[in-house]
């Protein structure tokens, strides 16, 4: 209904900002523009530090990083739900810190720890949410039905939440955001706890949403991040450590294949890049022949090896985990 109105408003908003000499932005392209965002909950530790961010329209951007990295903190600030301690934030051409009420109706978000009201059905949950978003009653009914069908929830539309399993509850929440057709959709770990089939139905729904909507995701499932993201932002310790397309990030790690080795007392991978992580070594090689060779060498000295393709997980490990060396050094090289 109001897409046109919204885009006109958006243009006006962006223009105002440009004229006011605010953060400069391309009115067509950039939906999120953040500068120096920071958050401390207790005044001592920074949960998010000095984050700069710009996100283009129609993209799927995934936040990746270990527990406590600051992903949820960043998402909550971007949805205008949490006030940052520092920084500037322009969303959809509006100053989201000064006028959050102008951007809020154009955003949909599913928080990480959201739970559905327990005495209602998935249909009632999605339908009412759409009415709150300004849909007419008939549009809300139609879109609720479409989203529930898309996520395989139509069959349980009349069951109350209390009688549904955890994965179904999570899907009902995801259906809310997907049905919204909002310009900007945030989902904090939407697929956590979902089975292999329903995860794929969420992926399909996200693919449909893409193009019209910009999606910000967080996930701990690496293959999901690789499969869905136009851009990945890797965070650690409240900092944005790195960002780029999946292939740009993958190129930060040498090799194509990875051999994960454990059960050996010292590394025997001279000439290869490797990382030590707790008691295991991750060795990066270029060919599958090399990985077979390493695996069999390790087997000879009683180790176990697992061969796999290089993934974003290795980028995360490379950037924020273990230590990394092209040549083994120090006491590890005592042979």
């Amino acid at each position: 209904m109001s897409n046109q109105v919204n885009s006109v408003k958006y243009l006006l908003g962006a223009k105002r900002l440009l004229m006011a000499g605010g953060v400069s932005l391309d009115p067509h392209g950039i939906v999120i523009n953040a500068e120096g965002l920071g958050k401390t909950y207790d005044g001592v530790k920074w949960a998010l530090r000095n984050a700069d961010l710009s996100v283009n329209r129609g993209k799927v951007v995934t936040l990746l990083g270990p527990n406590g990295a600051g992903k949820t903190t960043l998402v909550r600030i971007l949805t205008t739900e949490l006030e940052p301690s520092t920084g500037k934030l322009i969303i959809l051409g509006e100053d989201a810190l000064r006028n959050p009420e102008r951007v809020r109706p154009r955003i949909a978000s599913i928080p990480q720890e959201a739970k559905p009201i327990y005495f209602v059905t998935p249909y009632e949950l999605v339908f009412s949410y759409l009415v709150f978003r300004g849909f007419s009653i008939s549009d809300a009914k139609a879109e609720a039905r479409r989203a529930l069908e898309e996520l395989g929830l139509w069959g349980v539309r009349n069951k109350i939440m209390n009688n549904l399993s955890g994965g179904y509850k999570r899907r009902a929440l995801v259906a809310m955001a997907l049905a919204s057709n909002a310009e900007l959709v945030f989902m904090d770990e939407p697929t956590t706890g979902l089975d292999v089939f329903s995860r794929r139905s969420v992926w399909d729904a996200l693919a449909r949403l893409k193009g019209n909507s910009t999606v910000i995701l967080t996930t701990h499932y690496i293959e999901e991040a690789e499969f869905l993201s136009d851009e990945v932002i890797i965070m650690n310790n409240g900092l944005v450590v790195s960002r780029g397309t999946v292939s740009e990030l993958l190129s930060k790690v040498n090799g194509e294949y990875v051999v994960e080795v454990y059960g050996i007392s010292k590394p025997i991978f001279e000439g290869y890049s490797y990382v030590k992580l707790n008691n295991r070594y991750l060795v990066y090689v270029d060919t599958s022949e090399d990985s077979s060779l390493i695996a069999s060498e390790c087997a000879k000295i009683g180790g176990k090896a697992l061969m796999r393709r290089k993934t974003l997980e290795d980028v995360v490990i490379r950037l924020i985990g273990g230590w990394y060396s092209d040549e083994p050094t120090g006491d590890l090289d005592s042979s």
Partner: protein, 251 residues
């Protein structure tokens, strides 16, 4: 705000009440009973010790109390639960709802399941006091103001809680401080000065009801002041909910 915008808000409030009130009523009917019991138990005790004369005061106080708990005091617990436990408020922030329509939606939900209890009070009051229908033209707006004021205050307070358990206990404490301790169930003229009734919206309403229904002996000044204070509280608490409640989080 445009007419269209207002209609969206009204529609949302009604759908909210259907969703969170009516569906709860039909699926969890035992809630109906609990909202009635607090005020009714006081009426029972008053009637046993004071006789039928005090029953009238008790019933009017019970009505005033039931209206404020059907909004404000119960909202504190519910709103804290929806925000902290379910993160529902965080989701609804990104909709067209604002703190006022959200609060009214919640309050109308509470009212939905308090309705049978309120009906019991009104029927008893009607049976015993035989109020002329025209008086309801004054009674209903007064009760409505009380309901809005209590709800806005309740919501604002609930957003300051960071643990759901505090929300539930604060509802109880406020119910006592504002709904039981001041002259709600007993006439304010028993106190050194009846102006003490002005301390709480609930006792204000109770006092006004006693004045217009029971012809209780209050200075006219007090009644005028009561209505003014009630109006002012409604406006102030609404502005507080809009500007000072934590619609977004700080933690």
């Amino acid at each position: 705000m445009s007419l269209q915008g207002i209609w969206t808000q009204v529609k949302s409030v009604i759908v909210f009440a259907w969703f969170y009130g009516w569906l709860a009523v039909i699926r969890e009917p035992f809630w109906l009973v609990s909202s009635l019991l607090n005020p009714l138990s006081i009426v029972v005790i008053m009637t046993i010790f004071g006789g039928v004369r005090y029953m009238s005061f008790g019933l009017l106080g019970g009505l005033a109390m039931a209206v404020s708990s059907s909004g404000g005091f119960t909202i504190i617990g519910d709103a804290a639960y929806l925000r902290l436990e379910l993160k529902y408020q965080s989701m609804l922030i990104n909709t067209r709802l604002n703190p006022i329509s959200y609060t009214l939606g919640l309050a109308l939900s509470e009212l939905t399941y308090a309705l049978p209890g309120l009906a019991v009070f009104i029927i008893l009051i009607q049976l015993i006091m035989r109020i002329p229908a025209s008086l309801y033209l004054i009674i209903i707006p007064i009760l409505a103001l009380e309901w809005v004021a209590a709800s806005m205050l309740g919501f604002t307070l609930s957003t300051l809680m960071n643990d759901v358990r505090y929300g539930w206990s604060l509802s109880g404490i406020l119910g006592f401080l504002l709904g039981t301790l001041p002259p709600v169930f007993y006439p304010a003229y028993l106190l050194p000065t009846p102006y003490i009734a002005l301390v709480s919206p609930v006792s204000i309403v109770s006092t006004v009801l006693q004045y217009i229904i029971l012809k209780a002996n209050y200075p006219q000044e007090l009644i005028k002041l009561s209505v003014i204070v009630l109006l002012a509280e409604t406006v102030i608490f609404t502005i507080l909910a809009l500007r000072k409640s934590r619609w977004r989080s700080i933690y």
